[in-house]
Subunit: 374 residues, 2 copies
């Protein structure tokens, strides 16, 4: 299902309305996520200028102009070098005739710090503001085209987890599993993985972040796998925890506690949709773990938004102000983000990607009972 | 060949000397590249503080402390949440007892803008400076351990190009080639690709950047392939241009011109090692293309540094001040970075990774004559 051009135009009009309300003169798009959100087009290191009225103007290498204009239906500005690219932006800003034009730029994971620094140096008269205030309100509510793509990403996530579990046995290296899974899920249609798959085994299951190392899986390992396939630009996120061999009682108890926490979070969101905040979810889960015998082990950030961004608003581990965000209908949320790490027992995580629709539904459906594998 | 711990300690001592000379109190490491350079350890989203004396202190999630300390031989500071991570840094800075501590942070492609913004907001009394001034002087001169790893990355780059050429024929999609190449080169030992491989075919060979789309290769295509395998953290970079079917005279002429420009650049660097600047290379190549009948088609940025970073100092397309950098012995440089795009003919690029040693030698050795494939 191709997203019609009219949808992209509508998104641009909406962000321009927010720009006008907030007194922002232009949005400088530097991330593929937003470039894609506003045009449907795909390229490496996209740059685009969305004025508060008119445009948008993709800014492209001279020889790319024809194709970009064809793909986007927009008029592109061209450059042959970085200084020319910057001047394309600057001359547009000057054309506004304002003493202090206000430009929104993205301050995301994917926005390199030096770009913002250089932009500020080259434009000392410009007031730079965070683009989040005008972009997040749009992006956090998904339309049916986006939901359709996320469903497909969810199916790919389930498939990837199937492949991973089939491979999991003593003697195989984490990196071997990761390579096979990535290969097969891309072969099956995933555009890419939104982050290098992680498979944290043994002691490393306790880690906050993950990766795949050359460590060989051994009998008795707790193995935590987290995968984020991308379809048509949209991410799904799934995590499961396995035991290689037979799970001990401590491991079963921890797994059950995590699963209960995840399921109760989904119920809480469904029951109090439109009013429950991220902070309330955090507090309730911290309390739940305390009462379940895991006092002090709660790691903050149990839910995060997901969509074109693997992690997007609300994204409380990075942006504390997102704790105030309400979970409302139309959002897509990963539930089960933070690890429950218990020394000498293992690290546990069960994560799925949910659509906050009339009901709260998961795009991912891989088995949730604790699997003993190998 | 494992890099001995003493080498990492020496690198830290050297950067501390530069910090003391420049009046910098601490270096905040946020990139995997620098974390690896100073510790040899590998993790996702590493954070580390290097004071101008003592330390360094990796800053890790509580449950990761034991393993990180074992891997690095360093004493780690721990956190359980982002605010705690920030306070670990802040309390260290306060312990210096200075009114305005000076902290160097990385402003690289991989440093997210928001991290710097948040750090500044949380530390208004801190003077933030770019870490480049103290890190680049070390990293741009490679030691024998680094050269050894880059040689291995170079061999993997040649292998990857072999795989790509074997697959290249009418009917295959760019994305299919890219997936197979990545799979096989990782299977062969590459840790990852430093950027998603690009294979720009037909009209898209003219592009500045690249990617792999679902486009099917057709007879007559110019196909530009660029691959950057990573081994032990170190990158190699290779690019070649092919014609599917029979090359026309225009295409042969453009290819020859590019190849001559690349080879002459290597000779120029060898003859004037230690004194030639990036700017001189740029000027000479722009002149060369003008005289060869390609006036106005020179794209800036013919060489860039390479190592732990796929693109590192000197990196003139992003950091214009790097045009003043001299190419000196010990550097590793990719030559042939910019595309020669000629409308209705094709885009051409021949890139290799060189070591500026006694002689100027390439780590990559794939065939350089124009190959007609398919």
């Amino acid at each position: 299902m191709k997203i019609p051009e009219s949808i992209f135009r509508k998104r641009v009009r909406k962000v321009q309305e927010l720009m006008q309300e907030d007194g922002i003169d232009a949005l400088l798009v530097l991330s593929l996520e937003n470039y894609r959100y506003f045009t449907g087009d795909m390229r490496k290191q996209p740059r685009m200028l969305i004025p508060s009225d008119g445009g948008p103007y993709p800014i492209v290498f001279e020889e790319e102009k024809d194709e970009v204009e064809r793909n986007t239906g927009l008029e592109a500005k061209t450059y042959r070098s970085l200084p020319e690219m910057l001047s394309a932006v600057i001359s547009f800003l000057n054309s506004l005739g304002k003493d202090t034009p206000v430009v929104a730029v993205e301050m995301e994971f994917s926005t390199p710090a030096f770009l913002i620094e250089r932009f500020r140096m080259a434009n000392p008269h410009v007031e730079v503001v965070d683009a989040k205030q005008i972009v997040a309100p749009l992006r956090k509510i998904k339309d049916r085209y986006e939901i359709d793509l996320m469903k497909k990403a969810g199916k790919l996530a389930d498939y990837a987890m199937d492949v991973a579990v089939d491979l999991l046995k003593p003697g195989i290296r984490e990196s071997e599993v990761a390579l096979e899974v990535e290969y097969r899920v891309r072969k099956k249609g995933a555009e890419r993985l939104s982050f290098p798959m992680f498979i944290n085994s043994g002691e490393r299951s306790l880690w906050l972040h993950g990766m795949a190392t050359d460590r060989k899986i051994v009998e008795g390992d707790v193995v935590l796998i987290d995968i984020g396939p991308v379809f048509g630009g949209y991410c799904a996120d799934i995590a499961r925890t396995f035991v290689v061999g037979t799970a001990g009682d401590d491991q079963k108890k921890a797994y059950r506690a995590y699963l209960e926490m995840q399921e109760k979070t989904a119920v809480m969101i469904e029951e109090r949709k439109g009013e429950v905040t991220v902070l309330e979810i955090e507090r309730r889960n911290e309390g739940f773990l305390r009462e379940t015998g895991y006092k002090g082990l709660y790691v903050k950030g149990f839910v995060h938004g997901i969509g074109l961004g693997f992690e997007e608003t609300p994204f409380p581990t990075i942006f504390p102000e997102d704790l105030r965000e309400k979970i409302v209908e139309g959002m897509t949320i990963a539930i089960g983000h933070s690890v429950l790490s218990i020394k000498n027992v293992g690290g546990f995580r069960i994560e799925d990607t949910y659509h906050i629709d009339e009901k709260v539904r998961s795009f991912t459906g891989f088995e949730k009972d604790l699997l003993e594998v190998g």
